[in-house]
């Protein structure tokens, strides 16, 4: 059995969030379309959905409760003391403000909570716990991999870094066969972090043969129009890892172009997986760690033709394309500029 962990990104992701992505993989995992899959039934692959969003939700609910208590109780204290209109009053005012349900709170707060608070440590522990539970029956001939999306790429990076350097160690399950990072934010969030969040180009999360690194292959997928992947894009230097990642061809970057749009949801995991180049790369390493097998040129062309027709039929106006392309012209030096771009993107896809 090959266990594949699916780690979600920011925003509301409840149980069953991966249903559409799994369905898309199942639909395209077709030996009629790709003959190299013939010997490898999908039933030998087990997708394991990882959830951690409830950790952020639980905190926001608690914060909301405190804000409500403070707000209602505060009304009973009808003082006109000038001190209350100063610092103290302002902080009470901030604390009594209930978290809104805006894009900023539902999506970007997840990023801030993960990167800058101990909720991030609870998330890391939760993921490791879920992985350990899923790999309980791992046998000698079994293997495991990770597909992570958006914030999930940063989360996965940290879990692997900590898990493989910790004791007891995640290494007792062996290295991951592959790590697939979709809309990789691991470098971007490192740069955004208010603290020293380490360096993703010098940590141990890299692909290698034999015992080094944490995986055998590293697939990195980004899109020219996705502001979560084009801002401070994950782009490792030649010295990355043990210095042999590129010479041994263990890193597989895929950059989708601006024309590769089948819907407005350019950041969604499903939108990425729909592209033949993305799902065939995934399939290559799903069935064969060395990725020797793969689609023929003819098969690839047939699938790309279908995909191109879908892009042409997509309900996307020229004005929308112009607006989303214009996001790339912004400045991305400060956290505020980056968050503003994401908010604009949120407005465009909603």
């Amino acid at each position: 059995m090959h266990y594949v962990f699916l780690i979600h990104g920011m925003g509301s992701s409840s149980t069953g969030w991966s249903k559409n992505a799994k369905k898309l993989i199942e639909d395209h995992y077709d030996k009629k379309a790709y003959a190299f899959l013939a010997d490898f039934p999908l039933s030998d692959i087990k997708f394991v959905e990882i959830n951690y969003n409830d950790i952020f939700d639980a905190y926001l609910d608690e914060a909301k409760q405190h804000a409500a208590d403070l707000g209602s109780w505060g009304k009973l204290v009808k003082t006109k003391d000038p001190t209350m209109s100063g610092v103290l009053g302002r902080i009470v005012g901030i604390a009594a403000k209930e978290p809104a349900k805006s894009f900023l709170i539902t999506h970007l707060a997840d990023v801030a909570f993960f990167m800058a608070t101990d909720l991030g440590w609870q998330v890391r522990a939760r993921i490791a716990e879920q992985m350990g539970a899923a790999l309980k029956d791992l046998k000698a001939k079994d293997s495991w991999s990770i597909i992570a999306h958006s914030l999930g790429t940063r989360v996965a990076t940290e879990v692997l870094q900590i898990g493989f350097t910790g004791a007891p160690s995640l290494a007792s399950f062996g290295k991951a066969r592959f790590v697939m990072m979709v809309a990789n934010t691991s470098y971007l969030l490192q740069e955004l972090s208010p603290y020293n969040a380490g360096d993703v180009y010098t940590n141990i999360v890299y692909p290698a043969r034999k015992a080094m690194g944490v995986c055998h292959r590293y697939i990195n997928v980004s899109h020219e129009l996705d502001p979560f992947s084009f801002i401070k894009r994950f782009d490792p230097p030649s010295t990355w890892g043990n210095g042999e990642v590129f010479t041994q061809k263990l890193y597989h970057p895929i950059l989708l172009q601006a024309k590769d749009l089948t819907s407005k949801e350019v950041h969604s995991l499903e939108h990425y997986l729909r592209h033949p180049q993305v799902h065939t790369t995934l399939f290559r390493f799903l069935v064969d760690p060395a990725g020797r097998l793969g689609p023929t040129e003819r098969e690839m062309k047939a699938q790309m033709d279908i995909y191109t027709n879908e892009t042409l039929a997509a309900q996307i106006t020229a004005a929308w394309r112009t607006s989303i392309a214009a996001l790339r012209d912004g400045k991305f030096e400060t956290a505020k500029e980056i968050f503003d771009t994401w908010e604009k993107f949120g407005a465009l896809v909603s």
């Binding site: 405190h66 109780w73 009594a96 440590w121 490791a128 001939k141 940290e158 399950f173 940590n203 034999k210």
Partner: protein
């Protein structure tokens, strides 16, 4: 009639046996065909393994008694090492020209696996030590991935050979057979290595469950933290040896642990804190002030903790002996006493009491859960008194 029935039964039996034999034959073909990697995947898959009692038996013999204690484990390791060496020596030599390097590569993997078994008597402890040493350029020498014939052997054996049964491919097929036999031996070694890692995996699972429970308890069973407190505490935990936190760490006799490599990448799981800072923390309470007129002495109050600490001990995954002290200001709508009072808040477990001075007059402010508790007690005592007085009557 009976004879006909017997013949029919006989025919049915023979047909069934033929069908079974045919199916087995087809199974054998399915298990032993295809390109090298696909062939190994099928060979070690559930269906083909079921039909390969010899390989199953080798694995069972290799892994049995593994958890029989330290002495037994050592004896077992020596036995399995010797058995594997003997099997390796008996493996057929490659016959196809040019195949030596492929077979040599596979043999090396097997030799590595055997050496591993000989060198590491206590893999659990060794793995833990390795995890601590692991850096981007230093690997753990006992990784499972040293024994990954399935993953890498395709690089050693050409995939496009032996596709047909022609005479010209006879030598190629012999090489494949040799490679499969070596892969089998390596699989047995891999099973044993896997079995040796099992205790570590169990420890990992238990440790992660506890860690998750502790983080939850830290966030929800100690005082609630506003987002700025969460951020501040995360910062202080990662700089626990700084001038602000260092004296408190020493005073409270708590650990200061945050391990990173030279680039700041975290090393290992961070222990869940045993203390945190409380700052700029507003809350609500019930204030009792004797300076106020009768009937108006208990009233709602805002409690504002400027700065303080909470600390506790871990009992399993539970918070134990939670204590706290902070500088606090209370605000209440007083008629006689001053609105604002300054003093200290003291926390014991989930209950907190603030003692503040309102223009020199003391007031007590209770956390709401404590006020609730006291009113419950009050009711309980009243009920008891009622019961006692009714009994006396």
């Amino acid at each position: 009639m009976r004879s006909f029935r017997n013949r029919a039964l006989c025919w049915a039996l023979v047909s069934s046996l033929n069908a079974i034999a045919g199916a087995a034959g087809a199974q054998e073909v399915a298990c032993e065909s295809g390109a090298f990697y696909a062939r190994l995947v099928k060979r070690y898959g559930e269906t083909c393994m079921r039909d390969n009692p010899a390989l199953q038996s080798r694995i069972e013999q290799a892994t049995q008694g593994l958890y029989g204690g330290e002495a037994a484990t050592k004896a077992w390791l020596e036995a399995i090492r010797d058995a594997l060496r003997a099997q390796t020596a008996a493996l057929p030599a490659p016959v196809a020209p040019g195949s030596d390097r492929y077979i040599a590569g596979l043999r090396k993997r097997l030799r590595d696996a055997i050496d591993f078994l000989a060198d590491h008597r206590e893999p659990g402890a060794a793995l833990q030590a390795c995890a601590r040493l692991r850096t981007p350029t230093t690997s753990c020498p006992i990784d499972l991935d040293n024994f990954a014939p399935l993953e890498d052997s395709g690089d050693l054996i050409e995939e496009n050979g032996c596709r047909d049964a022609s005479e010209a491919n006879a030598a190629c097929r012999t090489v494949y057979e040799t490679a499969v036999e070596i892969a089998d031996s390596t699989l047995v070694a891999r099973y044993t290595v896997d079995a040796l890692h099992k205790p570590e995996r169990e420890k990992f699972r238990a440790a992660m469950t506890r860690l998750g429970e502790r983080w939850h308890a830290y966030l929800y069973d100690t005082g609630f933290q506003y987002w700025w407190e969460l951020a501040g505490n995360r910062y202080l935990e990662e700089h626990c040896d700084n001038i602000f936190n260092w004296p408190m760490t020493r005073l409270l006799r708590k650990k200061c642990e945050h391990r990173t490599d030279t680039s700041g990448n975290p090393i290992g799981w961070r222990a869940v804190p045993e203390y945190h800072v409380v700052y700029l923390h507003p809350d609500v309470g019930a204030q009792y002030n004797t300076e106020e007129p009768h009937g108006d002495r208990l009233k709602p109050s805002l409690v504002f903790q400027w700065l303080g600490y909470e600390w506790w001990q871990w009992r399993g995954s539970k918070i134990s002996k939670l204590r706290g002290v902070s500088f606090a200001t209370t605000v209440s709508d007083n008629k006689v006493a001053r609105t604002l009072g300054h003093g200290l808040q003291i926390r014991i477990n989930e209950y907190a009491v603030s003692i503040t001075s309102h223009g020199g007059k003391p007031a007590l402010t209770l956390s709401l859960n404590l006020a609730d508790k006291l009113s419950d007690l009050d009711e309980e005592w009243a009920n008891r008194l009622k019961r006692i007085s009714s009994q006396e009557r």
